[in-house]
């Protein structure tokens, strides 16, 4: 092996958002030597931008049951979610949220002193009967409150953070087992091998494959890229959530909590159009549904504004007190990014890419599962994933609002527990590193270093974002997606020849962006190919040429393999852990 420094840990966690830090806490408190790598200081992870809430059937305001939460999640997922994982998440939710409160999270309160809960999209009582207040909130800064609390708790637990380190590649040995990662220390430009008994990816989503996204610059799908290059398939990548209310033009998120507090959507004629599409839940129908209705209004000429290209989110009727108390950041965002004060005027909004339902295939224990022979799910020893980068799959074809923060803490913890168990029982000593553990990463960096006559990173990234935006949007069709498959393959070829001018070692952000593009491209190709293949409409995948859900042929998860770009499929888990299967039915709201 080339001269690369090695460090050894019991566990390595890549990513310090909600999932990574929840897992880190578990491992640190168990006394394991744990390294948490993050491209950014932990509190800058994108969890910080979550606004509206975290779901749990606490019933602090209205009667609620985890079984109702489970039903809503299954229905929200358009029956692509795995019902064992969904049961696990919804049943665990109350204790997970109470635990956050005990950690010191500054939730808003109701008069009884308990956590405040607000209504949210798709959250219902009694199996779809009426809206219920399930979203536990800290004003409209729930993600910030959660992330800072988890960081603080990790300070208490003395967790070892490697701040501004970027993981480069997964290290697998001859058996296919995971034994560590390679990583770049950004400040020095040095590459290291981190040798571990267990590795967790908690790297977040790849929302930046789209041109317009609520996501941060750092959301480049690094975990997906590393998996794809290491022969691990990516699951359900055709399913991308378009959040109904991104600020038109700017893409910045406006929480669904606005509608939870009573805000409504209006078209250009001033009509509350959601009443037509969803008579029961109205503006609080699930996100895929609301986004499609909004896009339809615009397509049919009922948009608002000079170009009739958006709709309006009206909340002035809530009054200054509710807005300033429950939605203070929304007011600030609207003033800063839309130039309107929502106390007086509506906010111009459009559906904007927000969340990746697919990702690294795992089970509800956070173990990464891949097909082997006839068995669709065989554990990759030593490898775990949690949070947005993982596909457990609890969100299926469409995630419910506030289930993302819940996913982070529930599966962050369960993955942490699984790792502790694995290290104790199965891998008490390190498995040896392969001889050439760092060679692949070093060759990627050397290629970038020596590339001549290549492509500008920014040009290739823009071409990718334009393609995905145009070919894998809210409404999809066969012709458009076939073009997308061809185009993204061309962009992927260009991405192999990226070139940077900056060749220095210290804090070389040009190099980091080029390495991030390698990861984005893997997610983009997977998205386009998986989308093109799915000949039905389900959740966020809305296909003009196949407008119905087709359970006979398509109630199955896609698995994309990068090396030869082929797709495989595996069954949806229809057996919950303890309760009865929730059989598919038509999704109306």
């Amino acid at each position: 092996m080339a001269n690369v420094a090695k460090r050894q840990f019991d566990a390595v966690i890549v990513g310090a958002g909600g999932a990574g830090m929840r897992a880190a806490l578990q491992l640190s408190e168990a006394g394991l030597k744990t390294a948490v790598l993050s491209k950014v200081f932990p509190t800058r992870s994108h969890t910080v931008a979550a606004q509206g809430g975290i779901s749990a059937s606490l019933g602090n305001v209205q009667e609620d049951k985890w079984e109702w939460h489970m039903y809503d999640t299954v229905k929200g997922s358009d029956w692509l979610g795995d019902q064992d994982a969904i049961e696990f998440m919804c049943k665990t939710a109350p204790e997970a949220v109470i635990e956050l409160e005990h950690f010191g999270m500054p939730f808003d309160r109701v008069e009884s002193g308990r956590i405040y809960q607000r209504p949210f999209g798709g959250h219902t009582a009694n199996f779809g009967e009426k809206p219920v207040q399930r979203a536990c909130a800290a004003a409209d800064r729930t993600g910030h409150a959660l992330l800072h609390t988890l960081y603080q708790r990790n300070v208490r637990a003395n967790t070892q953070f490697f701040v501004e380190w970027m993981a480069l590649d997964l290290i697998r040995d001859a058996d296919g087992d995971v034994v560590g990662v390679t990583a770049l220390e950004m400040e020095t430009g040095e590459v290291y091998v981190l040798h571990a008994k267990a590795v967790l990816f908690a790297t977040g989503g790849a929302g930046r494959i789209y041109a317009a996204s609520t996501n941060a610059f750092i959301n480049t799908g690094d975990g997906l890229g590393m998996c794809a290059r290491a022969g691990i398939p990516l699951e359900d990548m055709e399913f991308w959530q378009f959040h109904p209310t991104g600020v038109a033009g700017a893409g910045v998120l406006i929480t669904e909590g606005v509608r939870g507090e009573g805000g409504i959507l209006l078209n250009g004629n001033g009509e509350r159009f959601m009443e037509r599409y969803a008579p029961t839940l109205k503006d609080l129908a699930p996100r895929d549904f609301v986004s499609r209705c909004m896009a339809l209004e615009v397509l049919e000429g009922r948009g608002a504004g000079k170009n009739k290209d958006h709709v309006l989110l009206k909340l002035d009727h809530l009054g200054p007190e509710v807005i300033n108390h429950r939605l203070p950041s929304i007011r600030e965002i609207a003033i800063k990014f839309a130039g309107v004060d929502p106390i007086k005027e509506p906010i111009p909004v459009i559906p904007t890419t927000h969340y990746q339902m697919g990702g690294i295939p795992t089970n509800y224990l956070g173990e990464v599962m891949v097909p082997k022979g006839d068995n669709p799910e065989v554990r990759v020893n030593g490898f775990y994933a949690a949070g947005e980068c993982a596909c457990a799959s609890v969100h299926g074809a469409n995630r419910l609002g506030t289930n993302s923060l819940l996913d982070l803490v529930v599966f962050g913890k369960s993955a942490g527990d699984s790792m502790i168990d694995f290290i104790k029982r199965e891998r008490p000593v390190h498995k040896p590193l392969p001889e050439n553990a760092a060679d692949y990463s070093l060759s990627r960096i050397a290629r970038l270093e020596n590339q001549t006559g290549g492509e500008e990173v920014n040009d290739v990234r823009s071409a990718m974002q334009k393609t995905i935006q145009l070919r894998a949007g809210v409404f999809r069709n066969s012709e458009n997606m076939a073009l997308g498959v061809k185009e993204i393959a061309e962009v992927a070829e260009r991405a192999k020849r990226t070139q940077i001018k900056d060749k220095s070692k210290v804090w070389n952000t040009a190099r980091i962006e080029a390495l991030e593009l390698d990861n984005l491209i893997e997610a983009a190709v997977a998205t386009m190919i998986a989308a093109d293949a799915r000949k039905e409409s389900r959740g966020a995948h809305s296909h003009d040429d196949f407008q119905k859900r087709d359970d006979d042929n398509w109630m199955k998860h896609s698995l994309f393999f990068s090396h030869d770009r082929h797709l495989d499929y595996k069954p949806v888990h229809t057996k919950p852990l303890t309760v009865d299967y929730i059989p598919p039915k038509e999704r109306t709201f």
Binding site: G104, E187, S504
Partner: protein, 233 residues
């Protein structure tokens, strides 16, 4: 629209010392914020280094000194900025490269105040109850994004970054003192009872002036000082 900049540049790999670089960039109509302009500059010159992430003022990555005042590039409008826009790294911390500073000392101070709820009684099976009124005591305290705009605009922090906790850390200290669930007020006050850690704050109020989240560390520091005095009395 063309925009003129004067940007602090320093790359330890190639520069013997820092310098101010004059540059100009053509902005698109969609480039509304300073961060948009910096991203566009970076397309032309990929060696320009700065931190950025959420681009909506909540992650705290892109704090810098803009025309002499600390702020977040992503929430600073380009319209109205005096040109050439002079951009420097946050003052008072070691510069690693260009606009990227070493924030180790800043976070060390934050960690030193034990930024977590301390309560040794076993928690109940439900929430530790807190009235809406008690919870309101945390408003204006918990929203800090650790961008360091405040501490790096504070002369007391510039002089004693190793001894003075600084406005961000002290705001966090009061956030836990004010939390009815926290039982360690005395211990927290002991931790700050020192000629430097708390009392180097001379109410200059630069921190209040620059905070992008409109928080008021000076007021929080005043409350801690009040508690100190009460404790002696």
């Amino acid at each position: 629209m063309k925009m003129q900049f004067k940007i602090y540049r320093y790359n330890p790999d190639v520069d013997a010392k820092p310098y101010m670089q004059d540059c100009e960039v053509e902005l698109e109509p969609t480039d509304k914020k300073l961060l948009d302009a910096l991203v566009r500059l970076k397309v032309v010159d990929d060696t320009l280094s700065f931190r950025r992430s959420c681009r909506e003022g909540v992650c705290g990555s892109d704090a810098m000194n803009i025309n002499g005042k600390n702020g977040l590039a992503c929430v600073t409008d380009v319209a109205g900025l005096k040109q050439p826009v002079e951009i420097r790294p946050l003052p008072g911390l070691p510069v690693i490269r260009d606009l990227i500073v070493d924030m180790t000392q800043f976070f060390k101070q934050y960690n030193s105040i034990k930024p977590y709820v301390i309560n040794d009684t076993p928690p109940p099976s439900h929430e530790r109850l807190q009235s809406p009124k008690d919870r309101e005591e945390l408003d204006g305290l918990y929203e800090c994004i650790l961008c360091a705009c405040c501490s790096t605009s504070c002369p007391s922090f510039w002089w004693n970054p190793d001894k003075f906790v600084g406005p961000a850390g002290l705001l966090a200290a009061y956030r836990f003192i004010a939390d009815t669930r926290d039982t360690a007020t005395n211990e927290r006050l002991d931790n700050l009872e020192d000629p430097y850690r708390l009392f180097r704050c001379h109410s200059i109020m630069n921190c209040v002036d620059v905070c992008p989240k409109h928080l008021n560390p000076t007021k929080a520091i005043g409350k801690i000082k009040e508690l100190m005095v009460k404790r002696i009395a």
